[in-house]
């Protein structure tokens, strides 16, 4: 462990500040400049009048100029408050945090699985280039990448939940089974299958090309010329080098992962952040939308940061100072 790592981390965090700021401006801008607004939900209530809506606009602070609303929001963010939901009056952070575990569980498991399987497939494909296995794996990955996730999900539900009745079609637990790991696993299988398939597909492609590139490097030839065994060349010499760009990619891929989770959560009624977002969207619940967007952005930045640190630890060429 290098002592200057801390300084490196601090600098990387400082570098992220403009990013967070940019995300907030763009997020806020898009949401508030677009037509329509949260008050439209009230219109659907029979007893609402135009006067009621005008009054609500004032009492919810939506009548203020955009920049005033923005700076108010920034100010409360800086004070540590993520604001309150328009329609529940609940602290936004509470709302997000209570959904987080489900999302982390789904995303974390699928990512871990995908990275494991994908890397393995990629390495095998790269080592056995042009073999039948490589050909099948490449074609299979392409095919998997061409499925619309939700369609694949629907098909999975149709086959496994409706026709065969092997697995539950959605949710996280059956009733009264909260905390039952076995029950959770049953519910996890289908969404995991759908999410992981796509991830494995793209991940195996990345891993394959990264390994392909690395095993053609001079230092791998050097390692072979030393008379090292094939596995040692692969895992000790090629692997760390091939994995460096993959780690960076994992950081960059985080947003895509959220996108996938959003779709999977919608199809499988998984009580995570993605569904929270979709629900908030239909009501244009600004504070929740901003909260989720900022939260994801922060997670993405954090993910990239962790990736960078991991790379710095593996790759001695990264300058820490």
């Amino acid at each position: 462990m290098r002592s200057d790592l801390l300084g490196y981390v601090v600098r990387r965090i400082l570098h992220s500040i403009p990013l967070v700021f940019g995300v907030s401006v763009i997020g806020f801008g898009i949401m508030h400049l677009a037509p329509g607004g949260p008050l439209s939900v009230y219109t659907l209530n029979g007893s609402i009048t135009a006067a009621d809506i005008e009054r609500l606009r004032v009492s919810l602070g939506l009548d203020q100029p955009l920049h005033v609303q923005y700076f108010g929001w920034v100010k409360s963010m800086l004070e540590g408050s993520w604001g309150y939901t328009l329609f529940g009056g609940r602290p936004v952070l509470d709302v997000i945090l209570e959904r987080l575990p489900a999302t982390i569980l789904l995303m974390g498991t699928s990512t871990a699985l995908a990275v494991l399987i994908g890397t393995l497939l990629g390495v095998l494909g790269a080592v056995r280039r042009y073999s039948i296995f490589d050909y099948l794996a490449t074609t299979g990955a392409m095919l998997a990448l061409s499925f619309p996730t939700f369609w694949f999900g629907l098909m999975a539900i149709y086959i496994f939940a409706i026709e065969l009745r092997w697995l539950p079609s959605g949710g996280m637990y059956d009733f009264g089974e909260e905390g039952n790991v076995l029950n959770l696993l049953q519910h996890l299988i289908l969404p995991l299958l759908v999410l992981t398939l796509v991830l494995v597909a793209s991940w195996s492609r990345y891993a394959r090309s990264s390994f392909l590139e690395v095993i053609q490097q001079d230092y791998v030839r050097t390692a072979r010329s030393k008379g090292l065994s094939g596995s040692r060349v692969l895992w000790r010499h090629a692997f760390p080098n091939a994995v460096i760009p993959l780690i960076a990619l994992l950081g960059v891929q985080l947003p895509t992962l959220f996108s996938g989770a959003l779709v999977a959560e919608t199809i499988f009624s998984w009580p995570g952040m993605g569904r929270l977002f979709v629900d908030a969207l239909s009501m244009k619940e600004y504070s929740v939308l901003m909260g989720t967007v900022m939260f994801t952005a922060l997670l993405v930045i954090l993910g990239n940061l962790i990736a960078d640190i991991a790379i710095a630890l593996i790759d001695p060429r990264v300058k820490l100072s």
Binding site: G27, A34, L143, P148, P255, V263
Partner: protein, 295 residues
């Protein structure tokens, strides 16, 4: 590549023919190209191929099953419209969205990447920070947020998809440009007095065309997918116009009773995306292939 290899090489006339030859060897790429051509053909000539008006509602014969009659080979939907005709016209819409979105993506991405890569410095810094920032948003988030607030038309949907997916392209272009602008032939053209515009257009653009073209085919694929995602979540192309995405959404309600209403557009989407993906993959290999002869 070696001199010897060049000497023995048959006289190729241009990069294009060289690339084409290489591409034709790529089996999956050719398959992709065939699929894409067929799909484009069917979309372009949907008017002539479709046996029925895709919008004609005839509720007296709804939910006709697959292969039940010659009149409706692929059956009918919940309003008695001919599925085959709707699939053909839906393809038109889906592909149109794919292509227009791709164009928007490529134009934006290339311009931004070119400016950032060529001018460097502050311009580069600002543009790439913007790109970083936008990349912090999961694309589906961005897409939905904008789609949820903008009235959906083919054009607006295409533009929304295009404007939320140009960032990677700009990164690719920027990386290419900043490599190529240091190449000696670019230096040489500066050396004989070429202007910035000329360098960008004549020297840089043709040389980044290959990755841009590859990215473009892959972007059509993702754009077609994205349209279905938006439609699936209810913000896509609006009826009565059919798109594969909204056909799928519509079919959801009859998913367990008339599953083929969902299966058919799903298969076509997969086929399209796969076609473009394979095509792009083949092109990438055709453009990139370096002969690693002199080890």
């Amino acid at each position: 590549m070696t001199d010897a290899a060049i000497a023995t090489r048959p006289n190729n006339r241009s990069y294009a023919s060289l690339t084409l030859r290489r591409f034709l060897k790529h089996r999956m790429g050719v398959l992709g190209a065939v699929v894409v051509v067929l799909l484009c053909f069917s979309a372009l000539f949907a008017q002539f191929l479709a046996p029925h008006d895709p919008l004609l509602i005839n509720t007296s014969q709804r939910f006709l099953p697959l292969f039940a009659s010659w009149e409706f080979p692929l059956g009918t939907d919940d309003l008695g419209r001919d599925t085959l005709s709707r699939l053909l016209f839906g393809g038109q819409v889906s592909l149109m969205v794919g292509v227009v979105a791709m164009l928007a993506t490529m134009v934006t991405g290339t311009l931004v990447g070119l400016a950032a890569g060529y001018y460097g410095g502050v311009v580069d810094n600002l543009l790439m920070r913007l790109v970083d920032t936008l990349l912090c948003f999961p694309q589906v988030f961005l897409l939905l947020v904008i789609a949820a607030f903008v009235p959906p038309t083919i054009l607006s949907i295409s533009l929304i998809i295009g404007l939320t997916s140009w960032m990677e392209v700009s990164r690719i272009v920027r990386a290419q440009v900043s490599t190529i602008k240091e190449m000696d032939y670019v230096q040489a053209s500066r050396g004989y007095g070429a202007s910035n515009w000329r360098i960008m257009l004549v020297e840089l653009m043709p040389n980044i065309l290959a990755p841009v073209l590859v990215a473009a085919t892959l972007k059509v694929a993702t754009a077609v997918l994205m349209e279905t995602y938006i439609s699936f979540l209810g913000y896509g192309v609006q009826p009565p116009m059919a798109s594969w995405g909204n056909m799928l959404t519509n079919a959801q309600g009859y998913f367990d009773t008339v599953p083929f209403l969902a299966i058919l557009p799903g298969i076509l989407i997969t086929l399209t995306v796969m076609g473009f993906n394979f095509l792009g993959d083949g092109l990438r290999d055709a453009f990139d292939a370096r002969l690693k002869m002199d080890l």
